[in-house]
């Protein structure tokens, strides 16, 4: 269709702007003429205004050199103090010698920066400059030095936005990968913590970190993930979440097949369970794989209270899962198809409350559901200033007034409100969204077939969930296939806060936690 239109409209001549692709750059190397090099580098980087070049003379020899870097990606103070100063001022103290300078001497003794590396081909140099490195090229040499002086401006470490907990650490990831990895390393000083980096995206070339603990994570799963990441052919992504969507087994499933978190403590416990983490530069979302439904229902707070209380809270959370999906549908099924299931007094009072309401219960439910969706979406996008107003408007106007005007029965409002609340008790936001989405089909099933429809829907859902697999591990493990030993961390929380064993279903290599290191060493040795 579109090509047809194109043919009709006719081609217009567009100015051609050639792009510099990595393959082309591979072939270009530095020459010994620094003017040549600098101007070529500038052109390659589209002559953007933030490219800074600084010509200088190194020391007493008067050798010309040039620094080139991107202004807002480097730490200017470091550049001044640790690169410029030694090269220009301190080097004046050097005894006058032959008119040449050894590049190794520069690298080894004159520049006081930790990361320093030689480079000669344009693709490395350009990528390094765009990542915040400083490039030093010297007249007469066809090699240059890449000096690391990165400084990314970003958020300071703050509180988690979407996963708050009452106790425990209140740190959350930021957008800078280095800082995030630091947060993880601080908590996990295990030499077996392996963090592999990949560059994702032809244009973005952002760093993707894949972290796992050698000897704990199932090597097959790690390998699978790495292979899939390598196969990706993209321009670039914003967040690890999107990467996750592309390497999953079932990208079309409405249920979250990966766990996303912005809390380092969650990542650390997941790594110690033998799972794998993905983090992309530029977004604070860490992706944890593989994942099962019980894992998604765990909250950090469960481990900070006594196990009896935590188990009780967990069980009520699972009930909320059902309420969030089935409550409106059940209300319709019972009220319209089978009021016989209610105690007589309740049935009569419900019926009395609904006299005069013009719509049938089904339409009522759909209207209220839609209203709640509007409220939720609006709440996300509102500027904080108006936030309060909307909650008042939503609650009072829609809830109370609609009831008093006789548009909606009061019971419906209660049902819908409770359902919305229940969906917020689910620790994983994506899972909450999935249940929110599933409400509608269940309501439709309830309208058509009543309780039978809901039962059919539940059976289909259970079948679907039982067949889901995340990297070879069943989504509903350990509920089914049933494994009693793993139940200490699903519905209830086991009494041992340290919990001696790792979950079996993750197929970790070392079962006993305290023995992990010994066994890993035995594997290798």
């Amino acid at each position: 269709m579109i090509s047809l239109l194109k043919k009709l409209v006719g081609k217009k001549k567009k100015p051609i702007i050639r792009e510099a692709s990595t393959d082309q750059l591979k072939n270009i190397k530095l020459t010994a003429n620094i003017d040549d090099n600098i101007s070529r580098l500038k052109i390659t980087m589209s002559s953007s205004y933030d490219i800074v070049t600084r010509e200088l003379e190194i020391g007493a020899h008067g050798i010309r050199a040039s620094l080139i870097y991107i202004d807002n990606l480097v730490n200017s103070i470091v550049v001044q103090d640790n690169i410029l100063r030694p090269l220009t001022i301190y080097s004046l103290n050097e005894p006058k010698g032959p008119g040449r300078i050894d590049i190794n001497k520069l690298k080894d003794s004159m520049i006081s920066i930790g990361e320093i590396k030689e480079a000669e081909s344009f693709d490395d140099i350009v990528l390094a400059i765009l990542s915040g490195n400083v490039f030093l090229c010297i007249q007469g040499y066809d090699k240059g030095l890449l000096i690391g002086a990165k400084y990314y401006h970003g958020r300071t470490i703050g509180e988690p936005n979407t996963e708050s907990s009452i106790r425990g650490p209140q740190e959350s990831f930021v957008e800078i990968l280095k800082v995030n990895i630091g947060l993880i390393r601080r908590r996990l000083r295990d030499p077996n913590l392996a963090i592999d980096a990949f560059k994702i995206g032809k244009r973005a070339k952002s760093d993707l970190a894949i972290a796992y603990i050698r000897g704990l994570a199932d090597p097959e799963i790690v390998e699978q993930i790495k292979q899939r990441v390598l196969k990706l052919d993209l321009d670039g992504q914003i967040s690890a979440i999107q990467i996750g969507q592309m390497i999953l087994d079932n990208p079309n499933s409405i249920f979250p097949m990966s766990q996303i978190t912005e809390r380092p403590d969650k990542v650390v416990s997941a790594l110690m369970d033998g799972r794998v983490m993905l983090l992309l530069e530029g977004a604070p979302d860490a992706l944890l794989l593989p994942v099962t439904l019980p894992i998604l229902m765990q909250s950090a707070d469960d481990y900070f209270e006594s196990w009896i209380i935590s188990s009780f809270i967990r069980i009520s959370r699972y009930m909320c899962l059902f309420i969030s999906t089935l409550f409106p549908a059940s209300y319709i099924a019972i009220a319209t198809f089978n009021p016989g299931m209610l105690p007589t007094n309740l049935a009569l009072s419900m019926a009395a409350n609904r006299t005069g309401v013009p719509f049938t219960a089904a339409i009522e439910a759909l209207i209220m559901e839609f209203t709640i969706e509007i409220l939720q979406e609006a709440g996300v996008r509102l500027p904080k200033v108006i936030g309060q107003t909307v909650s008042i408007v939503g609650g009072l106007v829609i809830g109370q007034s609609a009831v008093q005007a006789g548009l909606v029965g009061p019971i419906m409002v209660i049902v819908v409100a409770l359902t919305a609340l229940a969906s917020f008790t689910i620790p994983d936001y994506s899972l909450g969204l999935a249940t929110r989405f599933l409400r509608l089909p269940f309501i439709i099933l309830a309208i058509s077939f009543g309780g039978f429809g809901i039962a059919i829907g539940m059976l289909t859902l259970i079948t679907y969930l039982s067949s889901l697999k995340s990297f070879g591990i069943r989504y509903l493990a350990p509920i089914t296939p049933f494994n009693l030993k793993d139940w200490t961390d699903t519905l209830i929380r086991g009494s041992n806060p340290g919990q001696n064993k790792r979950p079996e279903f993750l197929k970790t290599q070392a079962r006993g936690k305290s023995k992990a290191l010994k066994e890993a060493k035995a594997d290798e040795g």
Binding site: F337, S349, A351
Partner: protein, 408 residues
């Protein structure tokens, strides 16, 4: 493109043809109670208390078109008027006490299902029987026989077997017209009265359809609770005695107590005696626990039942003598003997009455014989009617008074 069309077709099917059974909760007529009277005369209900009574024999609205036969029964159905309930709940109970919260619809005919369905032509709500609380039969209907009446209520799957069934003194429709003070609907009020069997044993506890049907299936005689009503009260007044499926008489409250003793269904209750030892005071025993054991044996080719009633209770009241700290053990024993005598005489009189006057075996002796002495039963099965008045029954009672004489 084709897939899209197919999908649309399926979706439209779903939307237009489903929801066969969807009926809003307020669009149903919840039948709470059903009253059955014999047809001529036309049941007047509570209206007979008001000045203008219904004079006509047949009100046109209540006629049911019949395929055959003449109308024999009048079925009255009670459905709640929900608007009244709603307004009273909003304004905090200030509903008009004179206006009815329920609507009684009467239909006459001779087949119960036809009468029930005819009701559907008169209301704008869809009749719904799952919340049926009570079926009330008038005495005349009960005497005419239950078989004609009960079949519909058993077959219909909506009702289930937990509906209660009562026999009323007088017109059954009057019971439905009662305007109870503590409850909106008389059927619910009625069906909750039996809850007090936890306090007294002068009522039949839960007389569900189930128990009655079991008795009919086994060919036993049984009792159903009897009720009496006034404008705003219903009283559970003893029981109605049924032989096979026809009513033959009434049991008053005391006889009912005896029956409950014998059947081991005595829950909590009260026995009083007049004690000559205490200046003819009326002493009451509040019975906490009661257990009855019946031993079946054959004596001289006649069945013999030894009924052993064990009762324990506390000394509850003494009307004449205000005794304080009365711990006389002998008095204790005398009182116990008095109570025992009272229980035994009550039971024996009742049994005799049943044997001789009515020839009705409501004590389930037949069942006991069948289960405990099956060989003997096989022989006398067909002669039970003649055998029954001759069976030997011996009643023994043992009363134990737990707390005596001490006031709290």
């Amino acid at each position: 493109m084709k897939k899209l069309v197919l999908l649309l077709m399926i979706l439209s099917l779903l939307v237009t043809t489903a929801c066969w059974d969807m009926i809003d909760i307020e669009k149903r007529a919840y039948v709470l109670g059903v009253a059955i009277d014999l047809y001529p005369p036309n049941p007047k209900g509570r209206e007979s208390d008001k000045s203008e009574a219904r004079q006509e024999e047949e009100i046109p609205l209540e006629k049911t078109g019949l395929h055959n036969g003449r109308p024999e029964y009048a079925l009255t159905v009670q459905i709640p008027i929900l608007q009244k309930a709603q307004s009273s709940s909003f304004s905090g109970g200030g509903g008009d006490p004179e206006s009815d919260a329920t609507w009684q619809i009467t239909q006459i005919g001779n087949s119960f299902i036809s009468m029930n369905l005819e009701m559907a032509t008169r209301t704008n709500l869809i009749p719904y029987y799952e919340h049926l609380q009570a079926i009330i039969l008038s005495e005349d209907v009960a005497r005419a026989g239950l078989k004609n009446v009960i079949d519909f209520f058993v077959r219909d799957p909506e009702m289930g077997r937990r509906v209660n069934i009562y026999v009323s003194h007088g017109e059954a429709k009057k019971v439905l017209d009662v305007n109870p003070r503590t409850e909106d609907y008389s059927s619910i009020y009625l069906s909750q009265i039996h809850r007090n069997t936890r306090k007294t044993s002068r009522m039949v506890e839960k007389a569900g359809l189930n128990k009655m049907l079991n008795n009919i299936d086994l060919g036993l005689d049984f009792i159903l609770p009897a009720i009496q009503s006034t404008k705003d009260e219903i009283k559970s007044n003893g029981a109605a005695i049924f032989k096979k499926d026809k009513m033959v008489g009434w049991l008053d409250e005391l006889e009912l107590e005896a029956v409950k003793f014998i059947l081991n269904r005595y829950n909590k209750g009260l026995i009083t005696v007049t004690s000559s030892a205490m200046d003819n005071a009326i002493i009451a025993l509040d019975i906490g626990k009661s257990k009855t054991k019946i031993k079946t044996s054959i004596e001289n080719d006649l069945p013999r039942f030894d009924i052993d009633i064990e009762v324990s209770g506390s000394y509850a009241e003494n009307t004449r003598v205000y005794t304080q700290g009365d711990q006389d053990i002998d008095l204790h024993k005398t009182l116990e003997k008095d109570f025992e005598k009272e229980i035994v005489s009550l039971c024996e009189n009742t049994i005799k009455k049943m044997q001789e006057e009515y020839g009705v075996d409501i004590f389930e002796f037949k069942q006991l014989l069948r289960t405990r002495e099956p060989a003997y039963w096989k022989e006398v099965k067909n002669k039970w009617e003649d055998l029954y008045p001759k069976i030997i029954v011996k009643v023994k009672a043992r009363v134990k008074i737990d707390l005596i004489g001490l006031t709290s």
